[in-house]
């Protein structure tokens, strides 16, 4: 018999470690043609960290994104980022990029002051140009500043690189009066609702519909946010229903060797209907309100599916994954106990 159930789960996902320190650095270099090279150590594994950091650099330097180059292979020589993990990049690295952009703008004003015959404080940077305040005709484009800094032309050559570093303010002991203990840089909030069908004869659990909504501060790139929400579902589903190293774990000699032993969810294991949603409440700790959430999207589906299984068959399954064997044994035990 097929029994239906619905379950839900809420997730608080913290990012930006205040205890151990969670730093990232960045540099932005002005090239002779006026384009910019962004150097960040965060490695993009496909989640889009390089893309959003380019977006931030372009936005902060007020130039088209096509003018900002970033390499994903820079981690050998770029300023260090603690890494692209734990949903930390979106919260932390943009601060380093922001500081690097401010530093570069300052250096551009200083370098252009000789050429524009004005004090750096009287110069302003806007939309890829540096100009004398109140006299916008006396201006230089980024390409003119970049070219002059490389080849000379009225001033000594210079390498114009802005640098920036940032990490969340370090942890301090909790406030005994209020109990406040800001251990993390930001928290993202998610909700997941799962609908399942449990076949009581075979023990198979079919997730028929799954909805996840995440509050992400600011969706810097909505396409990438969507990928993270739906992508997190994959290990979430696998953890809950199929991915199993039992009984061998943790003995590495018996680790699963192929995808038949260790079953990843396929297209058919994905819910017939998958819905997703994004909420934005700008976070004060993030650049433009952005904060990380991605890893949390793996955490909602397991408890939501387990709650839905409970709703369907009246049993709390307390081991992952809920394979057909686990479900059938639980049903048998329930029957035996009357």
């Amino acid at each position: 018999m097929k029994k239906k159930g619905v379950g839900m789960a809420c997730v608080l996902h913290p990012t930006g470690n205040k205890g151990a320190g969670d730093p990232s650095n960045a540099a932005i270099q002005l090239k002779p043609d006026g384009t910019l090279v962004l150097l960040v150590g965060a490695v993009d594994l496909g989640q889009g960290s390089t893309t959003i950091l380019r977006q931030f650099a372009a936005d902060l330097m007020e130039v088209p994104i096509e003018h900002v180059f970033a390499s994903n292979f820079a981690d050998d020589f770029a300023p260090l980022s603690l890494g692209s993990f734990a949903s930390r990049v979106t919260l932390i690295d943009p601060h380093a990029v922001e500081n690097a952009a401010e530093d570069l703008k300052k250096k551009i004003r200083e370098y252009a002051s000789d050429l524009l015959e004005a004090h750096p404080d009287d110069l302003e940077y806007k939309e890829g140009k540096v100009f004398v305040k109140g006299a916008p005709d006396r201006s230089m484009t980024l390409a003119e500043v970049g070219g002059a800094s490389m080849f000379g032309g009225g001033a000594d050559p210079a390498l114009l690189v802005g640098t920036g570093a940032w990490q969340p303010a370090r942890f301090h002991p909790h406030d005994p009066e209020t109990g406040a203990m800001p251990a993390v840089g930001a928290i993202s909030f998610g909700a997941c609702v799962a609908e399942v069908e449990v076949d009581t004869e075979t023990g198979m659990v079919d997730v028929t519909k799954l909805t996840q909504v995440w509050e992400v501060g600011k969706a810097v790139n909505p396409l990438l946010v969507r990928q993270q929400i739906n992508g997190g579902l994959h290990p979430g589903l696998g953890t809950t229903l199929t991915e199993n190293s039992y009984p061998y774990y943790p003995n590495p000699d018996w680790a699963p060797e192929n995808f038949s032993d260790y079953a990843l969810p396929t297209f058919l294991d994905y819910p017939e209907e998958t819905l997703w949603g994004i909420e934005e409440v700008p976070h004060p700790a993030g650049v433009k309100g952005a904060k990380g959430f991605s890893e949390g999207s793996t955490n909602g589906p397991p408890p939501a599916i387990m709650a839905a299984i409970h709703d369907a068959i009246g049993i709390w399954i307390d081991e992952y994954p809920a394979t057909p064997e686990v479900i059938l044994r639980a049903l048998e035990a329930k029957e035996a106990s009357g």
């Binding site: 995808f259 969810p265 998958t274």
Partner: protein, 162 residues
């Protein structure tokens, strides 16, 4: 014993010296430098090595190279024409149908075979046909969407979005 294997690779004839036990994936990647097909498992489980053999999707890691003699093999390298991306490639790109991209060459070849056989598949038919291709980044939903928009003609060479 070594033998000369001749077949059509992405529209051009190739000759390559192979041993009887080498797989098509070995020959493509190691001997011909065609690295679109990926070695995800070398075991037939994951689908990242999928290529089209006379238009049918096969796992190149399970295909003995010599069996393709005289036949046509299409890999992801042969999908675009004159630098113009195939509609599926455009749709995958614009709909974010990948993260790391490791499964993408196999997904694209399976999706092409699906649409060649069934130009207007239902969501269920897409899920069933594509279920031999695994994606650890969990891009299934976006891949289904990309296949659906191509099936709907959105990226058709004439009129549609270019």
């Amino acid at each position: 014993m070594k033998q000369i294997l001749s077949f059509i690779l992405n529209g051009s004839p190739v000759d390559v010296i192979v041993t009887p036990t080498e797989t098509l994936l070995d020959v493509l990647r190691e001997k011909l430098g065609v690295t679109g097909p990926k070695r995800g498992c070398d075991d037939g489980d994951c689908g990242t090595c999928t290529v089209l053999l006379d238009g049918e999707p096969v796992r190149s890691c399970l295909t003995i190279a010599l069996t393709v003699a005289g036949r046509e093999v299409l890999t992801v390298e042969g999908l675009s024409t004159d630098g113009d991306l195939h509609p599926l490639q455009k749709a995958f790109h614009e709909h974010g149908a990948f993260q790391c991209g490791f499964c993408t060459p196999g997904m694209l070849m399976s999706a092409k075979a699906l649409l060649d056989h069934n130009p207007t598949p239902s969501r269920t038919e897409i899920r069933e046909y594509m279920s031999g291709n695994l994606c650890r980044c969990g891009s299934y939903e976006e891949i289904i969407e990309a296949i659906q928009v191509v099936a709907a003609g959105e990226y058709a060479p004439s009129g549609g979005k270019e």
